[in-house]
């Protein structure tokens, strides 16, 4: 009975050492390798709105805007939103199509 208790105590000590090592590693990693939240927030705020209005009739604007934002890993990727302008729908064929979805 006493031997089993001693074995359990040694297991606890080993577990403590491992837990301490993992905590220390993650802590140091966070301190030296991670970006600060302020830096990330500033870079996101500074990113210009990627909305572009183009007129396909004029043929002067490129409908695919140059992406000028910073790529951040994690979360949803920023999607450029291209609003296309055209002259009316009359006579130009169907605006859209209904189909099974």
């Amino acid at each position: 009975m006493t031997g089993k208790n001693r074995s359990n105590t040694w297991d606890d000590v080993k577990m403590l050492i491992v837990a301490g090592a993992v905590t220390l590693t993650l802590g140091l990693w966070n301190v030296f390798a991670g970006y600060s939240r302020e830096e990330i927030a500033q870079s996101v705020d500074a990113t210009p709105d990627p909305i572009v209005v183009s007129d396909p009739g004029s043929g002067q604007n490129n409908p695919a805007p140059d992406f000028v934002g910073r790529i951040l890993f994690g979360g949803a990727a920023p999607q450029p939103r291209v609003i296309v302008r055209s002259n009316g729908g009359g006579g130009g064929g169907p605006v859209t199509q209904t189909r099974s979805s």
Binding site: I83, G88, V95, T98, R99
Partner: protein, 309 residues
């Protein structure tokens, strides 16, 4: 001047159009609206509100205002369809093989064909108090709003765009239109040919109304050598056995059009045309698997001339 914005949401291509001389500010926010609604109603996002409710393990839950509205819309769809379109078929869909986002379903010949469920839940098993927005699901009942949520989202987006001018919002073929164009012109909408979706069977000329198509030509998959689709018949709990390939409906609202299109598909062509006889407020065209097309009288109106719903 038409302003158009296209993007992906709710597992399909979304198109938002507004007729306005200036670029309407609201158009750029449409993707954010859809993202918010998808987060609430998707069964494929583990942290959606729908999944939170579905994992309530028999506890009463308080739901958001949007969730309450979609649930009420689903109840209305069940009433219109006499029980054929119901939001309680989550487990039947999973049993049929639609257990992940559609583009992730791969052909797997080793998977057995779905078998009939022992228990098919009913919407009356759900306790709902609209005044307090409290819902209680039995532990073995799970909700899936499916096309109802998409139709509702399309309708909300169109309503929000309406102050800027005549608007059209289309999510994967579920279309809401707020009214005629400024010059009184109608909106032309093609009805896809299920045998060749790049071409149109017909072109509708419509004003303010909802248009939807339900079909088994798009979302289908193979199990044990047989093809299955996502339109579940609540009478069997299995994909509907029907001679209708696609059903296209014009109705006052897109949520009604969606519910009616599904109803017609599940009923099959003969019973569908009988149903339309006693519900002439809905206009429909059925494309059958043998290549035939059936159109009710009121649908011919939209195929030949401009009309407000």
């Amino acid at each position: 001047m038409l302003h158009k914005l296209e993007f992906q949401a709710m597992g399909c291509q979304v198109l938002a159009v507004v007729e306005n001389p200036a670029s309407p500010d609201a158009l750029q926010y449409v993707p954010d609206w859809f993202e918010e609604w998808e987060q609430a109603f998707s069964r494929f996002r583990f942290d959606s509100e729908l999944n939170t409710i579905n994992h309530s393990n028999g506890r009463p839950m308080h739901v958001s205002s949007d969730f309450a509205k979609v649930f009420e819309t689903a109840r209305q769809a069940e009433w219109i369809s006499a029980g054929l379109v119901t939001p309680v078929l989550f487990d039947a869909l999973v049993n049929a093989g639609y257990d992940r986002s559609f583009e992730m379903i791969l052909p797997d010949p080793t998977m057995p064909a779905p078998e009939a469920l022992q228990y098919i839940p009913r919407l009356k098993d759900v306790h709902w108090d609209g005044s307090t927005r409290m819902i209680w699901l039995p532990p073995d009942l799970h909700l899936d709003f499916g096309g109802v949520a998409k139709g509702w989202a399309v309708e909300q987006a169109a309503k929000r765009l309406a102050p800027y001018g005549a608007a059209l919002v289309d999510a994967g073929g579920d279309i809401a239109i707020t009214g005629f164009q400024r010059d009184g012109g109608s909106w032309e909408i093609g009805i896809a040919n299920p045998f060749n979706p790049s071409e149109n069977l017909e072109v509708l000329n419509v004003g303010g109304c909802g248009v939807a198509t339900s079909g088994r030509d798009g979302r289908n998959w193979v199990r044990a050598g047989k093809r299955f689709h996502h339109i579940i018949d609540p009478q069997t709990g299995l994909p509907a056995v029907t001679d209708v390939l696609t059903a296209t409906v014009v109705a006052p609202t897109v949520t009604e059009a969606e519910a009616v299109a599904k109803t017609l598909l599940i009923r099959g062509s003969e019973a569908a045309m009988e149903w339309l006889e006693i519900n002439p407020q809905y206009s429909a065209m059925l494309a059958l698997e043998d290549g035939k097309r059936l159109v009710n009288n009121s649908m011919e109106f939209y195929l030949s001339r401009v009309n407000e719903c």
